[in-house]
């Protein structure tokens, strides 16, 4: 009844037309938004698609004109070749265990240090923390020459030890200490105080009370560190010289610079070294995005 009445008033007609226009405008804007989003996504994802499909093509079809958008026939020959003729499974193992050890080291040492800096009073607390904070801005690019000289002097350059130790006590560790301290500052003092009154010592407090609270921050740190080590390039490039020591990025980079290199093979290697990380990323993408952008917000 009421709407009918409203429609009978002339002024409401104008209102309706306006409304109609606004609605059309809204639909148009929404469509535009989707179109832009789709174009952007294609630019972002198409290279990945191209990498993936090329890795399943036969050599004949890689250089075809017009390009073959979908592999036909499919072949796994490229993958068998990177496993049997090139030690990519070895590279995978190297990358995996190095990243795991770096992550473990960073989590242990920086949560210990972060907790002490945040919640334990001792002389020099602030000054020592500032020293570590400064370390966040000292990139490996600046320290790499002495590190290389020292490690090769000890015959340790062509080993994995450098790749494990340097991130733990360098950029990753400094960021981790900063991140964990930030989190532990938010833990209420009363909690620690009451545990102390109950007679708990600091290690006990740390293990039983503090660590369980920090699960989310630790997850952030794990994602950041693992990815950093997995994708590390300059350090292994400089340090490693024998091919059975290579990590995935070095193996891939080398394969792509070989004489008479085959692109379908390189793309298979690239897919192989990206896929593990991408799968984990797609499984917990929100945590990934939050963690990595947080690492950007350091300092």
């Amino acid at each position: 009844m009421k709407t009918e009445e409203k429609n009978n008033i002339p002024a409401a007609d104008g209102f309706n037309i306006q409304n109609e226009n606004a609605r059309k405008r809204k639909i148009f804007l929404k469509a535009l938004k989707y179109i832009v989003c789709i174009i952007v996504s294609v630019i972002m994802l198409f290279p990945m698609y191209w990498m993936l499909t090329t890795s399943f093509k036969t050599p004949m079809n890689v250089a075809k004109f017009p390009p073959q958008w979908w592999p036909n026939p499919w072949t796994l020959a490229n993958y068998t070749e990177i496993f049997y003729k090139h030690p990519f499974s070895k590279y995978l193992w190297n990358s995996l265990y190095i990243a795991a050890l770096v992550t473990l080291g960073v989590v242990v040492f920086s949560s210990l240090a972060g907790y002490a800096f945040a919640k334990i009073k001792f002389k020099g607390n602030n000054v020592l923390f500032m020293i570590i904070l400064c370390g966040m801005m000292m990139p490996i690019e600046v320290t790499i020459i002495p590190i290389y000289i020292a490690l090769s002097g000890m015959q340790l350059a062509d080993r994995h030890i450098g790749l494990i130790i340097c991130p733990i006590f360098g950029y990753c560790g400094a960021f981790g200490t900063f991140l964990m301290r930030q989190f532990f500052m938010t833990v209420p003092d009363e909690l620690i105080q009451s545990a102390k009154i109950d007679g708990a010592t600091q290690p006990k407090i740390f293990v039983h009370i503090i660590l369980p609270m920090a699960v989310s921050s630790i997850a952030t740190l794990i994602i950041f560190t693992f990815l950093q080590s997995w994708n590390d390039y300059l350090l292994p490039l400089v340090l490693l010289s024998s091919s059975d020591k290579y990590t995935l990025p070095i193996g891939l980079s080398l394969l792509s610079n070989e004489d008479g290199m085959k692109w379908e093979l390189v793309m298979a290697a690239a897919t192989f070294s990206t896929l593990p990380i991408l799968v984990v990323f797609y499984l917990c993408q929100n945590k990934f995005m939050a963690s990595l952008s947080m690492s950007g917000l350091k300092g």
């Binding site: 832009v36 989003c37 952007v40 996504s41 630019i43 972002m44 290279p47 990945m48 191209w50 004109f65 017009p66 390009p67 040492f109 210990l112 240090a113 002490a116 334990i120 009073k121 001792f122 607390n125 020592l128 570590i132 370390g135 801005m137 000292m138 990139p139 600046v142 320290t143 790499i144 020459i145 002495p146 290389y148 000289i149 130790i165 006590f169 360098g170 560790g173 400094a174 010592t201 600091q202 390039y233 300059l234 490039l237 400089v238 995935l248 990025p249 891939l252 792509s256 793309m267 690239a270 070294s273 990206t274 991408l278 990323f281 993408q285 995005m289 990595l292 952008s293 950007g296 917000l297």
Partner: protein
Amino acid sequence: MTGNNGNKTSLLKNHRNIEYLDAKWGYAFIMPMLIGFIIITIAPVIATFAFSFTDRSLMKVHANFTGLQNYKQLIGDKVFRNTMLQTLEFTVLLIPSNLILTLALAVLLKEKFKGCGFFRTAVFTPVVTSVVVWGVLWRYIFQTENGLINTILKMFNVQGPQWLMNIRLAIPIAVFVTLIKGLGMNMIIFIGAMLDVPQDYYEAASLDGATKWQQFLYITLPCITPSIFLVVIMTTIGSLKVFGQVKNLSNGGPGTSSYVMVFYIYQLAFKNYDFGYASAVSVMLFLMIVLLTIIQWKLRKNWVYYED
């Protein structure tokens, strides 16, 4: 009475004991990180400075102190000058395009709508891939013969340029590849900042008849300046340190036309084994990064004040 008193003093003593023990544990907790850090990070920085005053190389184990010789050589070094210019070109091209695109993407994807999760993930995917994979992949796409781009151009009967073999194009391509890789990260930072802007500012503005564009210009932008500033500094530091992309795309070439700072350091130190001179270039890089970081901290303090 006395018992009570005695209890009190023993409690106090106990308390002091706990404090003392606490401090001991504090040092114990930070020791591994601190010692490792001094050996692995602080000492090498000092060593780099020290090497930069010597003629140390792979051949010369007993290096001579040469004073400012390396730095004098830097001034006359044409390759170094070009390296600096190319690094500058890289930075100048990357920062504005990165800023505009990431702000636009953040505006586009900040509100939840159907499929926005997918689009965000799509934009973020290159962030997760390694620079090596990303660089090699784009080298494949930008190939002159049979590269995807030139093949598509050929389908329209256009002869594509020699992308990575072109002196003028090598750096812009590296910028483009880096740009696409980094968009997702900055976008997420901006989305976070934009969602923190109080909603009632927008409501008040739209009551006053402000358009969306005006709202963006006069509300969103001023409110997120700290994040914008942060992103600019971060991206600048990142572009001073760019290496993996250049190494895997054009390998510094053609000639030295895509040499950037870290690439030059790498060439000097690990191809020519001229550690002394390479250290001098490292010191330059270090000073620039320190300067930028100090600016960031200083201005950030101002902005914290401004936020209050």
